[in-house]
Symmetry: C2
Subunit: 274 residues, 2 copies
């Protein structure tokens, strides 16, 4: 058991967006080791079909399992929307996604039950946020909106740019018209656009970042299952390991701009073989 | 030999952009049958590394080979930039890409030898257009510029939109500053933005669409190799076949907006197995 407590947490995402979840885990439970896998060769998942998302997500989790992880975090809304059930069935370690933690806090904290979700086309098509929020708060109204240009705009480095502002105004108009009181940033890239989205929606709208809520849920899960690392990961030489499916340079540059630690190594692995 | 003459032409692309090449082939050599494969599960290639692009492209071509094609057209600038040599080595049928036909006409027709290329990040990074143009016209100046937002803007359906116009103006400013006289639309999605690009660059700049030049080169190749279909493909019940690696609905909708024929069927195949 002590061995398992010292095992790392596995985190995967379709690419680099999941690093916003890693950032929250590092902040909230700094004593834990992390193994991250980003499927940078097959990114994005948000425009793919459910079956393909499930197939790819299971390969991602199987790879993490080979690294001896004690729990798996699906740090991608699209993969959480489609693959969480399949992963929980296949894996013999706890698996949590980002959708339920985000949905739960929105259902609890929405003042008027008018909740918006901005996300990928695949996540919107799954209606998973609506289903889960309404299972907790049946009278809630949930509006899901795909914003396909947000990810490429973030990846182009145009986080604070007039173009991004215009695109965001157009995508968010429907949310303003519907007078949502709470807006879920339902894609792991979107917290990087938080200030633009916040300015457009206004102070009276609560923005929910599922990455933050997921780190809290992970912390509680580890406690409940007696899986908390009792030591200090920082004495470990390499507490954070990063793997990708395409070459690592671009990943490293982006990771360095998001994470509070240096990504000294990121290794490519052949994900199709898992 | 008569059998081979009646065999279809294989065309592949990372996704849907290659349909602009199919459209030109249909126009210029309507008697030929076509088998198209779009790697919609793994799209885009333009942000991936060279090695991954080669691996995926070889799988795409191997699949086409199982359909009995007599020649293969790499209808993707990124795949042409990285994988053409590997494909020509591996395949026992002629393989042509879109880069050389586009580069050749630009080198020949540029009035002042000042040539711009707009393309994906991977194509720009390969400098293949510059190398090939300068091999034909050593004094030419070639400026390559990645425009990563063009593909998502086209796929969002914002072909003629103020946002696309602003983004295009920003991307193209460098080309205007350098006073290019010829601009290659070096990604198969970009002909769909032709009118916006043309308006910004002005009438004095020649726009080169490699899809058009590739269809001409294909026609000449078939003639030279005695591979022309002597019959009429239109009497065939199903002269055009479409395959994809992800589910087919979205592909079908986009294809219907580009091609002059109805895409009645598009089938999903497991491309990782080729």
């Amino acid at each position: 058991m002590s061995n398992l407590r010292e095992a790392p947490i596995g985190v995967f995402d379709s690419g680099i967006g999941g690093l916003t979840v890693v950032r929250e885990i590092m902040r909230q439970i700094p004593q834990e080791r992390i193994v991250y896998f980003g499927d940078t060769a097959r990114v994005p998942y948000g425009s793919k079909s459910g079956n393909t998302i499930i197939r790819y997500s299971c390969q991602d989790a199987r790879f993490l399992k080979t690294r001896g992880v004690k729990a798996i975090v699906v740090a991608c809304n699209t993969a959480s929307a489609y693959a969480l059930d399949a992963l929980q069935k296949e894996m013999d370690v706890p698996v949590i996604g980002v959708v339920k933690p985000g949905a739960r806090v929105a259902a609890r904290e929405s003042t008027g039950g008018n909740i918006g979700v901005i996300c990928t086309a695949a996540t919107a098509g799954s209606h998973i946020y609506r289903k889960y929020i309404q299972s907790l708060r049946p009278e809630a109204k949930v509006f899901e909106k795909a914003c396909p240009l947000f990810v490429p705009l973030v990846e182009e480095g145009w986080r604070k740019d007039p173009v991004t502002r215009i695109v965001a105004e157009r995508y968010l108009q429907e949310m303003k018209d519907r007078r949502v009181d709470t807006l879920i940033l339902g894609c792991t890239h979107y917290p990087l656009l938080r200030s633009t989205v916040g300015e457009i929606m206004g102070d009276h709208v609560t923005l929910v970042n599922p990455a933050y809520e997921t780190a809290i849920e992970l912390k509680e899960l580890l406690k409940r299952e007696n899986l908390e690392n009792q030591g200090d990961s920082k004495i470990d030489e390499n507490p954070y390991e990063f793997f990708v499916s395409d070459e690592a340079e671009r990943f490293r540059a982006f990771a360095d701009s998001i994470l509070p630690v240096d990504i000294t190594t990121a290794r490519r692995i052949p994900i199709e073989e898992y």
